[in-house]
């Protein structure tokens, strides 16, 4: 079996998880062009190499981020989404990416 080192649950069988797509910032659907929205919805990097993507542990409903090598089938690093996405500071603009 292939082991996924979940940041919350520790190393588990990869069959306990669901792949959730590349980590991509969503453009503002009310402000971006139709073409930009279609690019966001459909177009993929589909990269060969180390990619950064969402994964979901089904039993605990936990979303997290994985860096994985799509050529060697190795999981490089897994971490909480809070490393990239932070809630906005009160009274100011948020740091990092925003959902």
């Amino acid at each position: 079996m292939k082991i996924m080192p979940c940041p919350l649950n520790g190393p588990c069988n990869i069959s306990e998880f669901v792949y959730g797509g590349d980590v991509v910032n969503r453009p503002d659907p009310t402000a971006c062009s139709d073409e930009a929205w279609a690019d966001y919805v459909f177009m993929e990097d589909n990269a060969a190499g180390i990619v950064r993507e969402w994964w979901y542990h089904v039993a605990t409903a936990y979303w997290f981020i994985v860096e994985r090598n799509t050529v060697t089938d190795e999981i490089v690093r897994t971490y909480s989404a809070s490393e990239i996405y932070r809630p906005p500071d009160s009274g100011g603009t948020g740091g990092g990416g925003r959902f």
């Binding site: 990869i14 993929e44 990097d45 589909n46 799509t70």
Partner: protein
Amino acid sequence: MPFGLIKYGLSRRYPVTRKFPARPELKPRYDVVIIGAGGHGLATAYYLAKHHGITNVAVVDKGYVGGGNTARNTAIIRSNYLTPEGVRFYDASLRLFRDLSHELDFNIMYSERGHLTLAHTEAALRTSRWRAEVNKHLDVDSEVVSPEEIARIEPTLNLSRDVRYPILGALHHRPGAIARHDAVAWGYAIGAAERGVEIHPNTEVTGILVEGGAATGVETTRGTVRCGCVVQAVAGSSGLLAGMAGFKLPIRSVPLQACVSQPLKPFLDTIVVSGSLHVYISQSARGELVMGGATDPYPLYSTRSTLDFMEGLMGHVLELFPFLGNLKILRQWAGIADMTPDFAPIMGVSPINNYYLDAGWGTWGFKATPACGTYMSDLVATGQVPDMIAPFALERFWRFDQFGERGAASVGH
């Protein structure tokens, strides 16, 4: 005493006719460069030469001829799709497949078996009825059949109600067939080479030359060539090649595994598919059971195979054919399926002029080989997108105009 055989064996000039010429040096320029020497690329080259007299063509491939997904599929040919555009296209392909051994003067071992898509739920029966009606409307032989009729068509199938997902009926598609997938690549390669097309295996494309928004050549590991136009037909690497030309595709490349059993005496006449049980199975002319299932659950550019897949697949196979419990599996392998969001292919023009796309073939590419070659060659020769493939334009995604072929194209979703 087989004297003829001994004489043959001792002959110094072993009488093997070379199937196609040895790889020549790359010329500085061709009219057409086709990237990918699999079934689709070679069929395109063949029809360019045969239908259009265009022979100044080079087909390049990073590996050996037909060594990509053409070598790795489970060789099922059918046209029982859901959308009218899909049915029309795949039926055109199936009809070309029927005569292909004669056309290519090469035995592709085409064997019409009948194809059963099992329905284990009421919803699946409804979809079967929908597919049957669309098929019949377009002169394709598909019929919804009851369990009693299934028992007559394929007596070895387990029709017991005492299973997790009993069979409620099926879509029976009599034209369903299997063929020798490698022979399709070789037959088209020989036919193309005989007409003057150059085939360049072990020639990897490392870059696409784009000038003024148009493709003007390709860089390879054996040198740079200029060309009038480029055709990309690289299942498993579509996104990577498109990236070289400077654009993205709505494709995720995911492994699709398959396996084959020891040879058995012929018992399985039809090709059996179950969407709910994620399995398709047929028996080859050699008596081997060829089995496949759903794609892997995450993208990967490796053709490694897994025990997880095998365990899952065998569980489902045994629900359909319980007597196979002691079956030995000889080989397991994988291809890389370029999955699109709507389970339909991408054929036609790209954002780069003179750069044509044949991509997004997911788990539905082998059966399309002759039609894809025919219509892509028409596009390359005339510069106009043929009506038959116009619905499959890349541009449909920017219009959110997706196909609805998920149910009919694949299993295990």
